[in-house]
């Protein structure tokens, strides 16, 4: 009897919620293509790529009111990249056959208590080293390996060394994975995020503080500070990352960005990454220069650098045209490597 009453009450509440909701699903997406020219000191060639700084993708997103003050929503987003700019190399100019790759399969409930998410989505600290207000992220940002990441450093004799991505990773915590995540409400622009889940069959936990504040004439400041831990593989060490980033955009358009992470790669080696960016944006134009350092990421004693210049032109809100010029260097004890030079020209169209 008690069970029946409970069931009836729950059914009535659900029916009320369904009647009250006003659900709308939105489909949006973008195509982001570029031509990339690369020279590793031994070989040079051109590539037609999907710009992995912000890949070609589409999404379904929907929200509905469950009850007054409680909202539910879902995000389904996949990417479809032909010749991703982070995977092409001189040996494989196509990268890989395009496939639909999951980005978000996420649902959430949001109310006065904050936001609770469940599914494939951002870990609490994902993007914590990539906070950037420059307006040029479609061309370059902290993810150095997004353009040319699979290109290997070469010796003058043609010998293959480590790839750019393996020595200049931004070590951005645990990216996206199947997890439960909780975000507190924002207090003065500051909020705490926590997540726990599984990635590559190993348990993952993350925590991060996120901040976004508008100081009026003094500009905007966005920042993040994060920590992630992935259980060790057999015989390995726990994969722990600590770091963060901050970006300041002055009201006049000048902007500065800084990021840093440290990661336990082995019991005796800690990979480090530092990122600096200075830029200026006005109207439809944004320009910036960045400098990145990667230490001890691939092997002890490795010291990698990347310098680049980018320009983004946004003639209309749904179209961006971008240009990037980048040089990457690797110093490794006992081996001399040639520099890698890259130029990329492309466009991102939102449909």
């Amino acid at each position: 009897m008690q069970k029946s009453a409970l069931w009836f009450a729950a059914a009535a509440a659900f029916a009320g919620a369904v009647q009250a909701q006003d659900i709308e699903v939105k489909l949006s997406g973008q195509v982001n293509r570029a031509v990339m020219f690369a020279d590793d000191g031994v070989q040079s060639d051109s590539f037609h790529v999907d710009n992995d700084n912000s890949s070609t993708r589409f999404r379904f997103a929907g929200t509905g009111e469950v009850s007054p003050g409680l909202k539910a929503g879902l995000i389904f987003e996949v990417e479809y990249q032909s010749s991703p700019s982070n995977l092409v190399s001189f040996a494989d100019r196509d990268g890989a056959s395009p496939t639909l790759d999951e980005r978000y399969m996420d649902l959430f409930f949001e109310g006065g208590f904050g936001k609770l998410s469940l599914g494939q989505g951002d870990g609490a600290a994902n993007g914590g080293v990539e906070v950037d207000l420059s307006g040029t992220s479609v061309a370059h940002y902290a993810d150095i390996s997004a353009t040319g990441g699979a290109l290997a450093f070469r010796t003058a004799a043609g010998g293959m060394g480590p790839s750019m991505g393996s020595v200049l990773s931004q070590q951005d915590f645990e990216s996206r994975y199947d997890r439960a995540r909780y975000d507190t409400p924002a207090f003065g622009g500051l909020r705490l995020a926590l997540s726990t889940g599984a990635k590559d069959s190993r348990d993952v936990q993350e925590a991060a503080l996120w901040y976004a504040g508008d100081f009026g004439p003094a500009g905007k400041l966005a920042a993040a500070l994060g920590y992630s831990r992935e259980d060790a593989a057999p015989g390995g060490v726990d994969d722990e990352v600590v770091g963060g980033s901050a970006s300041w955009l002055a009201s006049g358009g000048f902007n500065l960005t800084f990021g840093h992470t440290q990661r336990d790669v082995t019991a005796t080696r800690e990979g480090k990454f530092s990122y600096f960016k200075a830029g200026y944006k006005t109207g439809k134009h944004a320009v910036s220069a960045d400098y990145a350092l990667g230490d001890d990421q691939s092997a002890a004693g490795d010291e990698a650098k990347s310098m680049s210049l980018a320009y983004v032109f946004t003639p209309i809100s749904w179209a961006e045209l971008f240009a990037l010029a980048k040089k990457a260097q690797l110093d490794q004890p006992g081996t001399a490597y040639e520099d890698i030079t890259l130029v990329m020209l492309g466009t991102r169209l939102k449909f």
Partner: protein, 74 residues
């Protein structure tokens, strides 16, 4: 020591008189109008939006056609 410095910095930021804004990564699908979707920036699929009202002629004709189809099924 580092943790204390971070907590102090966070508390200072939260105590500042800045107006909160929603930070959105520029590497995500941009907000705003789309080339095909126009001002809305997305194609909208609203539940029930494509069905005519039950008391409309269109709905009645559809029901009649469905009934005719059922009776004349091969």
């Amino acid at each position: 020591m580092r943790l204390a410095a971070c907590v102090a910095a966070a508390a200072t930021l939260a105590a500042c008189s800045a107006a909160p804004f929603e930070y959105r990564s520029q590497t995500e699908i941009p907000e705003g109008p789309g080339m095909l979707s126009g001002e809305a920036g997305a194609f909208s699929l609203r539940a029930g939006a494509t069905l005519p009202p039950r008391d409309s002629d269109e709905y009645r004709e559809f029901q009649e056609w469905r009934e005719w189809k059922r009776r004349n099924a091969k």
